[in-house]
Symmetry: C2
Subunit: 276 residues, 2 copies
């Protein structure tokens, strides 16, 4: 592997803004790595679309990212991971990691009573991706999934700490709590924004698994295994170690990105992704 | 105008399912008219996308609809009406009606105290389309808008009659009620599904304006003015007076369509709309 391949950026993509929680964990945990992020804001959300459509959209994004000379791909979107990871691997031909497996591995490792809950969008729960990934590790674990379609709109409405939000979360969690889960996977990239609220509501006996964090750690292991870790620290004067591309609404993107990332995002370039 | 032009169908389009409430009112109020409906389910929703993107998507849909030999177009989507009606007219070259103006005309006619409320998606309120349309009729009317981004997800979650939904609606309406509105426009095609709930919460002193119904009546006037009304009643044995096309998820579409339309929708064909 040539030396300059190690210094190449990681390609990270999502249907829109949610994947920024994954980019944030990569910045925190892999501070030597460059990132090229693509958010498909012209076609967001993916959660209510079919597999052929998600595969087509993902392939277009991979073709764009490959032109940026990336060394690995992170699918920072539960739906695209669940429906298109095999096709992304085939299209890319470089190492690819999605958000589902790392969270599943951690949940399987930490559960003691083998009752694991998953909250996610309807698209993710209907693919059963987390249950399949956990059962591949330990088929005796009971995985209980709950679709929480209102949580993304509540996050985007900014009602993060709100009595109504608490009530909605509790209604969604009721069934999971009756199953006496000891581990709960936040299976949608927006849900880490509710982490402190969920923690408050369910107490401290249940382990919360954040796939964004687990994916960053999984990426670290993958880069090490492939001998692709960047060896030199980023130069603080490097103008664009993190570059951002979207398919629409660049301004709203940079605002949201600046509010949740540890860096100030000054610009995002709009890409005509349908043409890729 | 040749006779067979009068029997041609009306083209109706929306970003997805919401426009079916408009198609429903056309079926009820203009029972002689044929309909070709297109729902852009691969790129839904439009509410969070930019004007250039909505214009591009709308032009593609118009090009597809024109191939179906339609005689007029109904833009059954508040966002596409607000952002792209001029471009749709230019692209189509046949009579076009959107959902904003008919509701605005009725609201301006029925308000007595000149305080009109509008609830809609954030995209629609941010364009100020209803206020502009009402002020074009009577600049002295005070238009107070409130974005209600949670109502579409609540409708799609099926929480139509629910204590939490009531609380959320009341939070959204609070400010409008303080302005002592006597007229309220349901400025999103999904909101008629909450009509009885809203009526229960606000009492019977406020007139509710349903743009879906007003658009059907506006279409009737437009067809009459253009001498385009179909003269013959539809033959009950005609196999497909209503045809449905989508860009994704045809099965979910036919289920929802059958549940709200007065006819059974057996199939919807998937169109590769990006290629138009």
């Amino acid at each position: 592997m040539p030396g300059d391949m190690k210094s190449a950026p990681i390609g990270v993509f999502d249907s829109g803004l949610g994947g920024l929680t994954v980019a944030r964990e990569i910045m925190r945990n892999l501070p030597r790595e460059r990132i090229v992020y693509f958010g498909d804001t012209a076609r967001v959300p993916y959660g209510n679309k079919s597999k052929p459509t998600i595969v087509r959209y993902s392939r277009q994004i991979v073709r764009f990212l490959m032109q940026q000379e990336i060394k690995a791909i992170v699918i920072a979107c539960n739906t695209a991971t669940a429906l298109a990871i095999d096709e992304v691997k085939e299209e890319a031909g470089i190492p690819v990691i999605g958000v589902v497996e790392p969270g599943a591995v951690t949940a399987a490792a930490v559960t003691k009573n083998k009752q694991v809950g998953v909250i996610a969008t309807r698209a993710t729960t209907s693919t059963n991706a987390y249950a399949r990934a956990i059962h591949a590790i330990d088929p005796s674990i009971n995985v209980i999934s709950e679709a929480c379609p209102l949580l993304v709109p509540l996050a985007e409405e900014g009602w993060l700490h709100d009595r109504i939000t608490d009530e909605i979360i509790m209604r969604y969690l009721d069934d999971l709590l009756e199953h006496d889960i000891d581990t709960l996977i936040l299976g949608c990239t927006h849900y880490p924004l509710f982490r402190s609220e969920i923690r408050k509501l369910i107490g401290d006996k249940i382990t919360l698994v954040n796939p964004a964090y687990e994916t960053a750690k999984g990426l670290e292991r993958m880069l090490a295994a492939c001998n692709l870790e960047n060896e030199a620290p980023l130069n603080p004067d490097e103008p664009y170690p993190y570059r951002f591309f979207v398919s629409d609404e660049a301004e709203r993107f940079t605002e949201f990105a600046s509010s949740i990332l540890p860096v100030d995002v000054k610009k995002a370039r709009i890409i005509p992704i349908e043409e890729y």
